[in-house]
Symmetry: C2
Subunit: 404 residues, 2 copies
């Protein structure tokens, strides 16, 4: 059950000139579901990407990084069902076989293709079924297929995730449209599960990297469902250059705003659709000494199973939040200075219970499907925000039954 998350309206997803998307049912792991996506990019498209820092990064991640560094990208290929992670050298061979097969269908070199996979770890990629599915996906290629593409990359997701913005540059109107998938194994580290955002704006490779870095730090690197950093996290930003050119500083600022907004909507959508989620919670730490320590405290809260089950129960068992701040690793934190709010309710003041706080206020705030936990450390000027969800019976059910 996703929290305040509706399927995207196809009419609200603006096509991006130079980007075509096609999907197929390849039966990668289960029959009769869209599980294969091909994205074809116009010649001259610039591409930037961030990838998981997990040392067990998947074979397609290794290959996509290598291809991105060495050639002009013409196509992405994404399969769900099998992650092709923890598969050693054989996994690399299989990922390359998929690139080779697609390169022959669309007419380019294998290294001009970036492969992505998501699904079960440590099982071999069924290359034959994927290759057999490629012609159907290529035949389906069209600029308007964004919703279908979002559907094709879902695994335990319950809602397809897509977002789109128009942005006015000095040279004309550009569009930014993107899709993402992700629901469990979510604590992105410089990237997310899988997200692909495209614009028709014409930007240099260097500008694209800046856009990507800024967008990532305000979106995918601010969400966590369960603290598990995936082996397959990838976030790709594509700029086809078929639309208006970024010719002034204010254009770049406007484009950054649109890219960041689309990325943030997608990142939040992943949390809203977090496995078993019934609450969407913003965790904000203020007045810390550094952003790093604020993020430490925010992650400690967002990863604590005790805090997350209290969210699920709408139980203002707020001592659990203080305890999490206390073990977050801020060595010289003065607990006597910490204030804690749930939305506007001042719950703890100076490290202890606010004498005017009534439990009914805390319950009322936490019963809402969305609320903010805000801790003020009162020791500096830095702050940080994370988005997370609760830990429910359904999280356990989904993950105890996944695969079976």
């Amino acid at each position: 059950m996703a929290v305040n998350l509706l399927p995207p309206d196809p009419r609200a997803l603006h096509p991006v000139a130079g980007v075509e998307l096609g999907v197929a049912m390849a039966g990668v792991r289960k029959p009769n579901r869209k599980d294969l996506l091909v994205v074809r990019l116009a010649k001259g498209t610039t591409v930037a990407g961030v990838f998981t820092r997990n040392r067990f990064c998947a074979a397609p991640v290794t290959l996509a990084k290598k291809h991105l560094a060495s050639a002009q990208v013409r196509s992405l290929v994404v399969n769900t069902g099998i992650a092709n992670a923890g598969t050693g050298k054989d996994g690399l061979k299989r990922a390359f076989q998929v690139c080779t097969a697609l390169s022959e269908v669309i007419g380019c070199a294998p290294r001009q293709i970036l492969p992505f996979s998501t699904g079960v770890i440590m099982e071999p990629l069924p290359v034959d079924r994927i290759i057999a599915g490629l012609p159907a996906a290529v035949a389906d290629l069209a600029p308007a297929n964004w919703v279908s593409a979002a559907e094709s990359i879902m695994t335990t997701d319950t809602v397809p995730k897509a977002a789109s913005r128009r942005v006015t540059l000095s040279t004309g109107e550009a569009v930014v449209t993107g899709i993402a998938k992700g629901s469990g194994m979510i604590r992105p580290d410089m990237a997310t599960m899988l997200a692909f955002v495209a614009t028709d704006a014409k930007v240099s490779g260097r500008e694209l990297k800046t856009l990507l870095r800024n967008a990532t730090s305000e979106s995918f690197n601010c969400v966590t469902v369960d603290g598990d950093t995936s082996t397959n996290d990838s976030f790709m930003l594509l700029a086809t250059g078929k639309g208006p050119e970024v010719s002034a500083k204010k254009d770049l600022i406007a484009l950054q705003k649109a890219v960041s907004e689309v990325s943030r909507i997608l990142a939040q959508a992943i949390v809203r659709d977090g496995e078993g989620a019934t609450k969407f919670v913003t965790v904000r730490i203020e007045r810390g000494r550094s952003v790093a320590e604020c993020r430490k405290a925010a992650y400690a809260i967002a990863h604590s199973p005790l805090v997350k089950t209290a969210f699920f129960a709408s139980d203002p068992n707020l001592g659990r939040i203080l305890a999490a701040i206390g073990y977050a690793g801020i060595k010289d934190l003065d607990a006597q200075k910490v204030d804690l709010y749930i939305d506007q309710v001042l719950v703890a003041k100076g490290g202890g219970r606010n004498p005017n706080y009534l439990e009914a206020q805390g319950i009322a705030a936490m019963k809402k499907p969305e609320f903010t936990v805000r801790a003020v450390l009162n020791r500096g000027r830095a702050s940080a925000t994370l988005w997370t969800c609760d830990l429910s019976f359904d999280y356990v059910k989904i993950n105890a039954e996944y695969r079976s």
Copy 2:
């Protein structure tokens, strides 16, 4: 449902000369349950303790540290129900009121008393009810009350936890007996929830600290249920000196062995009785470069909600374990060198699936109530072991409903 954990047999718990225990039903938070424990110590008893490093450490922890440093300890007083944590200066005042009241009943100075609390955080300690219960607890004081004492410190525990050993020193036979409580909010950091281990052996203060430090690192600092380090963790080692003296190096070694063994049984009992636990899992990392990196990898596995739900489901979704090792923060880890075993089953070899591995073997191993996950990093000579449990529906149920 605890995993292979029986209530202690009272006949197997050897009284410790110089230690008397008395309990009462003080109605701290709920009526008709043992919730108050007084431990009276013979004059001359040496005491050493380790406490939580949580910056929101509870008022009784702050006070116990102070008293331990400044006076000869004559008594411990422990209440359940309310943790007296996140309670600011008022919490310190209340904890001291309890010490003062007990000091008047048993005839010593308030600072000769160490207070301990466990239960709900951020609610005020009901001092009046505790003080009213003290005479009954003192009237109950007797050397044989170890089981009753173990019962009196339970919160969400389902089984009282106690262990005892006799140890032969060159000067005679000594005993080591201890109790512990804990079930959730368990990831001790230099200490555990609450554990009290006593011996009648005569040891110096310096020797006692060594015994404590070694026992802690082999027991309470090797367990985790949910990764939440409590505000109230305390592990106290008491030596009354009423029994044989430690007069030779080999005596200290023998005593260390007994103290460590009792501590390990208690620490493992906490995991066996972990909230909602259905599996007791040993996580062992071998051939790492340092103990620190082995512990990082072990904690990443033991804290991953995805790994823990797979344990619950007896589902050898072993890629989740590799993924956890991958994000554990060992920056230069070569994933291609990692081998993974479930008990004797070689699951992954060189970072990928062992081609001879059959899933039926993994399921068979994981269906047992106890098994070992062993990862061999093949990059050094260090190793580390942790004990943990699974994440079940009942963990969510217990923590969503606790307090309500």
